[in-house]
């Protein structure tokens, strides 16, 4: 059953599946990998030296290097114009690329057209598995790094990832180029295994094969592609060994088994493998390492001194068609101030904070936030300037644990560890431990350390709100925007939350709190701004604002 070629094809299938895993893990659906593999295979067969002249292994190494470069280059060329596409649109665009490559190969002179080019067989099972090991090593080591977590965060929620300071465009392109390089490796290995490289090997069916292998294996754990390829390669072999008669029955059974796996293991074969994450013992750490934030491994932000203006809005307006969501708002927020923003439903509160955090560009006016102009600067830059926020409808990274959510929140204050982790440098371990400790502290601050390993989408509603605050805090922000954090909390929880928010402002943060619970706002805010129909109708200390007749009218309506 396990003949030489079967062993080789398991490795090859897994490598190709890894090229899909690379993008699926970052939430992108691309079908262009067959095109990258084709570009790589043809380029290396054309350019690489003849194995008979320089020897098998040197020739293959050169071919692999050429193929990887060709695949990655093709991915950059395709990625730059298509990276803004999402979901099915990206899939279609990349499929178009693969088809264009196929047509080119069919019609170019040097490729041998449909009959292909003959290639010496050089790849042995050992070589295929060594290359697979290298590829798997990359995905294994890169997963628990700042880069790997950023990709997963983008997969789970792109908007929230951007708000945490992750440069979504660059990371998506990074994943795409990785896919190109890995697909390139596959293309070269394929050519030097099957002796004949033809356009039919890199058509639509090949792309679907790769996608199915990756999905069957699972796209969240690095062993997924290996399991997927082993399963799909062995199904025909096992049937043959069992003596199932050749013919239609075999693909039929293979199809049924595929259905069974997808039905019963929606996360793929590797979906049941638990993610291991050690929750650091922060009590012990506090004893040895000093009180708070004394980690040299973390980047520290210089916060504005208490009382400085961190946000200045001048004439800020937003129209949606004919609707004036926000009209001509002037506002300043100071460091160390807890500012409450209240108003009836539809008053424009969320639109206002979306403009401050850079998610929505204003129609008129200017929002100067911590030295950057929000709306004209990419979201991740606004976040980098020191703005961190929670969302009205929580936007957690659902399939990541609570602790991992907070780790992503710490994106801006932790150091990149990818390269050092690949090289097993001890400093990477130190940095990762510091990041974990930092995340654990933030989780502890909202009282959720016990739930550190729970998946975010398995948490209760109230816990999800608190986790969002912990994630926002992990960015060490100068301005913290909380969009209805107490929604869905009971009296006790809301009281605890109020104390927490107050303590943050006392630490020197500027906090902008949107809240429906007027009692809570009156209790803790230094200043309150009331929005109605997009306009500021009142502003001042809470007791004054609450007594303002216009505010009463906006909330309760006029007396008949």
């Amino acid at each position: 059953m396990l003949t030489e070629s079967t062993v080789t094809f398991i490795a090859l299938g897994a490598i190709f599946a890894f090229s899909f895993y690379a993008v699926l893990n970052a939430g992108q659906l691309s079908l262009g990998q067959a095109g990258f593999a084709s570009v790589a295979a043809y380029t290396s067969v054309l350019v690489a030296p003849d194995p008979d002249v320089v020897g098998d292994v040197p020739a293959l190494l050169v071919a692999l290097a050429i193929g990887m470069t060709a695949g990655a280059t093709a991915a950059v060329v395709l990625g730059l114009p298509t990276m803004h596409l999402r979901g099915v649109f990206l899939a279609i665009a990349t499929l178009g690329f693969a088809e264009a490559v196929r047509i080119f190969v069919l019609n170019a002179e040097w490729t041998g057209g449909a009959q292909g080019m003959s290639v010496p067989k050089v790849v042995t099972p050992a070589i295929a598995w060594i290359v697979l090991a290298v590829v798997a090593y990359w995905f294994w080591r890169s997963a628990p790094t700042r880069y790997g977590r950023a990709l997963e965060a983008i997969r789970e929620d792109e908007l929230a990832a951007g708000a945490m300071g992750i440069d979504v465009g660059r990371h998506r392109l990074g994943a795409f180029v990785t896919a190109g390089a890995v697909a390139g490796l596959y293309g070269v290995l394929w050519a030097y295994t099957v002796r004949l490289v033809g356009p039919a090997d890199f058509g639509f069916t090949a792309a679907i094969d790769g996608l199915v292998t990756a999905m069957v294996g699972g796209t969240t754990v690095f062993v997924g592609p290996v399991l997927g390829s082993t399963f799909l390669t062995l199904v025909p072999e096992i049937q043959r060994a069992l003596g199932v008669e050749a013919g239609w029955i075999r693909p039929f059974v293979a199809g049924l088994l595929l259905l069974v796996v997808i039905l019963f293991l929606p996360g793929g074969l590797a979906g049941r493998i638990p993610r291991r994450l050690r929750v650091p013992d922060i009590a012990a750490d506090a004893d040895s390492g000093g009180a708070d934030g004394e980690h040299p491994e973390l980047r520290t932000r210089v916060h504005a001194p208490r009382g400085d203006v961190v946000v200045r809005l001048t004439g800020l307006s937003k129209d949606y068609g004919g609707v004036h969501a926000v009209r001509d708002v002037d506002l300043e927020i100071h460091s160390g101030e807890l500012l409450g923003l209240i108003g009836p439903n539809g008053a424009g509160k969320t639109t206002l904070v979306n403009m401050i955090s850079g998610l929505v560009p204003p129609s008129w006016g200017e929002a100067s936030v911590l030295g950057v102009t929000a709306g004209r600067t990419p979201v991740h830059r606004v976040a980098a300037a020191g703005v961190s926020r929670t969302f009205q409808h929580s936007k957690l990274f659902g399939r990541l644990s609570a602790l991992e959510n907070v780790l992503v929140g710490g994106h801006l204050v932790t150091r990149p560890t990818l390269v050092r982790r690949l090289l097993w440098l001890p400093s990477a371990r130190r940095d990762e431990r510091a990041a974990l400790t930092h995340a654990a502290r933030c989780l502890d601050r909202v009282g959720m350390l016990d739930a550190a390993t729970t998946r975010a989408n398995a948490l209760s509603y109230g816990d999800q709100r608190r986790l969002e605050i912990a994630r926002a805090l992990a960015a060490d922000p100068s301005l913290l925007i909380l969009d209805e954090p107490a929604a869905g909390m009971n009296q006790v929880e809301a009281g605890e939350l109020a104390r927490l928010i107050r303590s943050l402002a006392d630490d020197g943060l500027a906090v902008l709190l949107i809240e429906h619970n007027v009692g809570l706002v009156r209790q803790i805010c230094d200043r309150v701004v009331v929005l109605d129909f997009g306009e500021v109708i009142a502003s001042g200390v809470p007791s004054d604002v609450a007594a303002d007749p216009r505010v009463v009218e906006a909330y309760l309506g006029t007396e008949a």
Binding site: T3, E4, S5, T6, F9, R102, L106, N107, G113, A114, Q115, G116, S118, K121, V194, R195, L196, G198, P199, A200, D201, T233, P236, E237, I238, Q239, R240, L242, G243, V244, E245, A246, G247, W248, I249, R250, P251, V253, L256, L257, V260, V261, F264, L265
Partner: protein, 389 residues
Amino acid sequence: MPHRALALFAATALTVTLTACTAEGGGGTDGGLVGEGTGEDCTIGSPVPVGAALSLTGAAGSYGESQQKGLELAAEQLNAQGGVEYELTVEDDQTDPRQGIAVFEQLTAEDGASVIIGPTLSTGAFQAQPIAQEEGVPVLAISNTVDGITAQGDYIFRDSLTESQVIPRTVAAAKAEYGLEKVVVMYANDDALAEAGGEVFAGALDAEGIDVADTLTFSVADTDFRALLTEAKAADPDALVVSSLIEAAIPLVTQARELGIDVPIIGGNGFNNPKLMADAGDAAEGVVVGAAWNSESESPENTAFLADFEEKNGTQPDQFAAQAYTGLMLIDQAVRSSCSGERDAIKEGLGAIEGVPTVLGELTINDERDAEHEAVVQVVEDGKFAVLE
């Protein structure tokens, strides 16, 4: 959770059991492949294992099925004859190079086949045959028409004629019959066989001094050829020369007639299929195809084959079945010549085949290990292939 795991296990086990019911017991051979006697009287103790790597499913599935029927008929008849028993194992390569290579590796294993028949497609042959060559297992190709298949090694033979053996004859016969001076060539450029056929046509037309007014390419997956045919019609050719698989041939021929192109259509090996008349109907009239097998031949071998095949399968055989049937008959010839079912003896035997009467006509395997026998040029008349004299 345990429930789901259990259900998964149960479902898997069920599927495997269900299908294993159709399983056949495989069997190894332990020596005894050298027998006593010669020729007709040869008796070999152990059955001679013959492996066939065919494309039973996938893109080339229809050809593979036909070949399987031809082989099974031949095996049945040979085993009934006695003396030498053949243990035929038909394996499916699913028209997938990976499967093709895996199948060849299994068939060439220590206790594997003495000789391998197949694979169905030339592309698969290029990828899988070197394995047999390295292991010293003779291969007899039964449908591969591309040049260079047997050049891969001295263990590789074929009983199928190449396109370069059939097409020049076809072109010459059509020129004699219709006085061709100017033609339009059309071929599918994304299929290895159709493209290779197109190239051979171009060479043959050039050799005959026939002018090629235009060369048009299409995809094997195409179904609408009206635009191309309109272009072809504008060139006012004496004939259309088409190299494609049967799937594209049928709509192409039908649409050509619809557009009023009444000139002969000269097809490549892909047209060699009774489906052409069945599906294209009247439109197929006047299609000229060169073939390696003359279904109308009245040789005793062919008459018997036609009758036996129809009796066993209830349908008429096509060229693929005839070539497959011939393949096993030639192997029998090779085995009996030295009365040995061992790999090297079969290799010697196949190389020595000369003037053997077969369904395909008198067949010789030449020094390049390619088959040489009479090719036939056919034209569709009244819904049947008739020999173009």
